[in-house]
Amino acid sequence: MTKTSNTPLLTIKDLYIEGRADETWSGIVNGVSLTLNRGEVLGLIGESGAGKSTLGLAAMGYTRDGCRISSGSVTFDGTDLVGAPGKTKRHLLGSRIAYVAQSAAASFNPAHRLIDQFTEAPVQHGTSSRDVAAKDAVDLYQRMRLPDPETIGFRYPHQVSGGQLQRAMTAMAMACRPDLIIFDEPTTALDVTTQIEVLAAIRNIVDQFQTAAIYITHDLAVVAQMADRIKVLLRGDEVEEAETAAMLASPQEDYTKSLWAVRSHARTEQPAADRAEMPVLSVQNVTAAYGPIKVLHDVSFDIHKRRTVAVVGESGSGKSTTARVITGLLPPLEGQVLFNGSALPPNYKTRSGDQLRKVQMIYQMADTALNPKQTVGQIVGRPVQFYLGLRGQALRDRVAELLNMIELEPGDFLERLPSELSGGQKQRVGIARALAAEPQMIICDEVTSALDQIVAEGILKLLDRLQGELDLAYMFITHDLATVKAIADEVVVMQSGKVIEQGQKSAMFTPPHDPYTELLLSSVPEMDPDWLTDLLKRRADDANAYSKT
């Protein structure tokens, strides 16, 4: 391998990639060019449908089934990967270009031990023997700060947690000491506190071996930590590219600016509710279980009129289970739920129509929340008809009014099926269905987490406005602290089925915190490129201070 530092490692020129849908080809990547030097990290950022993963795979000369490179070139260290025969490409893949996938759990072969999958590439490419590679694995596992680096390789993928698997996959990518690694959203599926560890480990190892990398993500704050340069994509087109610091400080294009602006939205907090005022909803000492496994322990909180209570926690913290108890899908073992001061029957089947009507729900996945065979008019009209008994013209007028409330033109949308709506529009229809019941309280379960940031922002603003107009109380379930900042008045932090801390938002975001809240808060990536470095240093200092005492 000759390493000449003058020529770029990877050059993509005017690349067009098409995908097939319904027997016709349409563009996924439309004429994108990029160059990457040795040891450099390029961040590819964009919303869903931007073509960033397709571009990342194309950098390896690979396209998924149903996609094709229609024109352009991908040159890796002097070899054109587009026209190269399979054998030439196979020779480079795994040894000089490696890939880290989004879901490590699905991308490790369930039938083999981690170590066997690690040693496969070095042995097959003839760069080292199995024993040498296995020793190297332990070393890399150590560098990736995996627990028990000596033995963890002997486990099967399903025996290792998600965050650890993601690190093991990065170690595996490093096995042949490649010149280039493609990271495809490697931390998207992880909780924030786990994400930090993986990010730190990835950055550390890329630094140590001076590996060039393409880091694909939709999260600006993450890419700010990882990349030297950032390229922004929108629907397969390049928007702009610049050094990280410059891009963060002064984006040029409107689209980039709008991406950046999302993070700045924050709702002005309502004053704390009057203690004497009766809360709309009061969860009192609720303990609940799925079969023999207790998932909620003594959970209590109140929600007042016109207030938004954000329930925050990582996966498995019990926040969605709390919603199931409130709606009556999961009757609690102990405790009760009061609505306007009177106890709700524990099972939804025994609740009255009026009790059901007053608490409505909006779901995370708008795709599964709307019946794909019903039109928008039918979906929104049904609660109006069911609860309020409106028929004929009165029903049609009310549905039109509701659609206007969620900023969708009734004439255009009434007859559409969910498949003819965008993600944000689907979520709006979900909101309209909840409003149609004329509720007093709405439970919003991760309603923005499946949406792109700009769309999510629109939904949050809409919810904010509706709360003012209709005097609603919101229970807002989320794992994302940026969303909390944007919408909440009060915050309830949950961990392992328990409420760790609760109070006004302003109080929560100012120290001192409960240790877990502190961990959660500090783990949220910020746009500052030095944030990760500073955080790791601070945590190391804290740990040192702790060990000295």
């Binding site: 690979y62 196979r90 480079l92 490790f108 039938a111 083999h112 590439a121 097959q124």
Partner: protein, 329 residues
């Protein structure tokens, strides 16, 4: 919990045995219930079985005598226990049609039927699996589409249609005999030759099915992210199939095979009749026509047992091939 965290390898093996023992237990319960069902079905007979068999002309005395002979004067649970107990000792009772012990009728025929099913399986399983894998590798090609059309057609053919076409094509021209007569003195090769047409019929019917299912299973597998990962590691196509796809394909392929062997059991009945092959299926069909209930019960029980045992074996084998189940957390 992984075994290196304080759990020994022996414990892991033990937990597999427990799982297998549970499946076997479940299989036994199924067999028991099936036997109960087969027995109880006769109990649901409208009217009296003795009168039904003896006909309108029978005198009350002969009916009563016949009932005693059949044990019909006893309560049904006693008769069930006696029936099951007899079967467990190899005694299936006596035929109503000719008064001979059923076990004598069945013995030779059962081995003939098993021979035919095994013969067909020995050809069709390797053929179908390898063709299925081949087709899935060239999916969406013209070859794949043609094979799809052919297999789709042949799973639609009734067994007797395939059988008679084969007779017209291969027996009329004198290549193979159309009557699968077995003589005791025949050599193994001769037997294989004489039973070739029935075996080929079964093979054709089952192979198409098995191929389609294998293709679906493999294509499903090739779409998984770990196969993409293997490609992105620059591994050769052969290695991807052998090391990455096959170890995960065992479970689906085992199920495909079991399902089709079970299908053979049913298919064998019709094919035996076409080729006048002296097997259990033909005995059963004859007995149905004569309403020889004890013989039908015995044959149904044997077929059902084979079916249940096949499914059970597949279940256990696919458990054993699944790393997620063997290496439990």
């Amino acid at each position: 919990m992984p075994f290196w965290d304080g759990q020994s390898r022996g414990d892991v093996l033990q937990s597999i045995w427990i799982m297998i023992a549970r499946r076997l237990g479940l299989g036994l319960v199924t067999l028991f219930v099936v036997s109960l069902l087969i027995f109880a079905a006769v109990e649901m007979l409208p009217g009296d079985i003795a009168e039904e068999i003896l006909g309108q002309s029978a005198t009350p005395e002969t009916v009563a005598a016949f009932r005693r002979e059949l044990g019909l004067d006893l309560p049904s649970y006693q008769r069930y226990l006696a029936w099951l107990g007899g079967i467990l000792q190899g005694d299936f009772g006596t035929s109503l049609a000719n008064g001979r012990p059923i076990s004598d009728l069945i013995a030779g025929r059962l081995s003939n039927t098993l021979f035919l099913a095994l013969y067909a399986a020995a050809i069709s399983v390797p053929l179908a699996i390898s063709l299925g894998i081949l087709v899935s590798l060239y999916r969406n090609s013209l070859f794949d589409r043609a094979v799809n059309l052919i297999t789709l057609s042949s799973i639609s053919f009734p067994e007797f249609f395939v059988a008679y076409i084969l007779i017209v094509l291969l027996s009329q021209s004198g290549y193979f005999p159309s009557l699968a007569t077995l003589s005791p003195g025949a050599t193994f090769a001769e037997t294989l030759y004489r039973t070739f047409l029935p075996a080929l019929t079964l093979t054709l019917v089952v192979t198409a099915h098995m191929m389609r299912m294998t293709r679906a299973a493999i294509i499903n597998l090739l779409a998984s992210p770990y196969i993409e990962m293997a490609r992105l590691k620059g591994l050769s196509p052969g290695r991807i199939i052998v090391k990455h796809a096959l170890p995960n394909a065992f479970a689906p392929i085992i199920n495909v095979i079991a399902l089709n062997l079970a299908y053979l059991i049913t298919g064998v009945v019709v094919v035996e009749v076409v080729f006048v092959y002296p097997g259990l299926g033909q005995l059963m069909v004859d007995s149905v026509a004569k309403r020889d209930i004890p013989v039908v019960q015995a044959a149904a029980l044997i077929f059902a047992c084979a079916y249940v045992l096949l499914n059970l074996t597949a279940d256990v084998l696919s458990t054993l091939s699944n790393p997620r189940l063997i290496h439990t957390r």
